[in-house]
């Protein structure tokens, strides 16, 4: 097992167990999209564009009662250690689905029957926790697009590393550690909209891990809010 925690209880990058990686978020940088956001979190660099609500072009995906939400999580070929082939991988297809399911509960899709909302997530550079950062950013982009929402969705992974529960796994901690547990949550209602886990946890550890994630999500949510406010004032000022 690789040594990921030093004697002073610090992680490889100097963080404490409950500390997030450095992050920054911006809203509204794409001109042609209805809404957009950019996030950096650790080595992740992720751009999200939202288009819609717009008329559904294909009859296949139309719903008479609400907008259809579509989501594509996509890694650029140069975003990974080894060049990623441009065809969508099974991993990307699954992540696209769980991200869509994590975001939909926050949206009032009933207000836009027969239309479609597209979320395009482009991972420019990937690091551990890219699905969480994608959700956090997509949430900003949806708000930026003016789509009515019950709450923002904030997401982060908790993991187990050398036996310790730690917040916001880096790539190395994800690969060399024991557990990866990404969680997305709407903090107002406390509803968890994404949860996946790889690796072994006891029931007690699992319960603690959720609490750790909640604390991290709270911090991220504050930054999401700030990014939206900043965008708003920029628009008012200009």
């Amino acid at each position: 097992m690789m040594n990921l925690i030093d004697e002073g209880g610090k992680r490889l990058d100097g963080r404490s167990f409950d500390q997030l990686r450095p992050f920054s978020m911006q809203a509204g940088l794409l001109k042609s999209a209805s809404g957009s956001a950019y996030i950096e979190q650790g080595g992740n660099k992720i751009l999200v564009g939202v288009y819609g609500p717009r008329d559904s072009r294909s009859r296949y995906g139309t719903n008479q009662d609400k907008a259809v939400l579509r989501c594509r999580y996509h890694m650029l070929p140069f975003s990974t250690e080894e060049r990623k082939s441009p065809q969508p991988s099974r991993r990307e297809i699954e992540i696209s689905k769980v991200i869509r399911d994590a975001l939909e509960p926050a949206l009032l899709l009933e207000e836009f029957p027969r239309s479609v909302i597209d979320i395009y997530i482009e991972v420019l550079q990937s690091d551990g926790g890219s699905r969480g950062a994608s959700i956090t950013a997509a949430s900003i982009a949806l708000a930026d697009a003016g789509i009515p929402m019950k709450d923002l969705v904030s997401a982060v992974a908790v993991g187990k590393v050398n036996g310790h529960l730690v917040l916001d796994l880096s790539d190395t901690e994800d690969k060399e550690g024991e557990v990866d547990l990404p969680i997305a949550v709407m903090l107002n209602s406390g509803l968890i909209t994404l949860m996946q886990m790889d690796g072994k946890l006891s029931e007690d550890e699992f319960r603690q891990a959720i609490d750790l994630a909640m604390a991290g999500a709270k911090e991220l949510r504050e930054a999401q809010r700030k990014a939206l406010v900043q965008k708003y004032f920029k628009e008012v000022d200009s």
Partner: protein
Amino acid sequence: MKGLVLDNLRRDQLTDAISKGRRLDGRGMSEYRKLEIRPGIIPKAEGSARVKLGDTEVMAGVKIEHGKPFPDTPDQGVLIINAEVLPLASEYAEPGPPDEDAIELARVVDRGIRESKMVDVNKLVIVPGKEVYLMYVDISVISTGGNLFDASSYAVVAALMNTKFKILKQEENGSVIPTGETSELPIVDLPVSITAVKIKKGIILDPDVEEESINDGRLTVAYDQEGNLCAIQKGQASGLKVEEIMEMVKMGKEKVPEIREMIRGALEKNG
């Protein structure tokens, strides 16, 4: 995913019953439908099993080949799990390559097996770094009657436990040939997948197709032999409260021994 849409009357009946702690088919909240596991039904495959869980029916087959290991795990055999929903499995199914639902199914089953460390892949090496065993596990869904995740997981677990394969060796000239002996897979755990759904405020295990169509949140958890959680997948575009999740985990954990015994029993009867 296209699929069943219940009419309001039926929906209300189902939710009413569940709110009173009952289910329309008479099952208890934690009760599984009738589970039949028949291992070894495809003799041509190195391992196989057919699982019926109520109206849900799934087959899994294991083919063992050999080839190069993945670069980052040069000293481990390779496990590859695929799933397809056969077009005869329901009126909504269609022929074609696996869609996102089939891909998710394969990956969730895969994680339960892989993270439990059920198969000791370190023992599936022919020449370290060069030639290892490749385990291709294919899930074919024959009837979609609800709770595909659990049924598929049981089929794969049973098929792996049922597997017998030819031991291979590498000759001096590089070609890989059978030694003439056969072996079972090095099985070191027996993970059990349990799926719970919330319907209004009630939580039930093993949803059938109607229950699944109106669920307000799904959680699939795989448990290893020591009672640890080893893989989780939340499903459905909906939210679950922490208490609900913990309740689901608890109900699941209590159910595991019964299911594990059924899988073991089916294998022993067959073996």
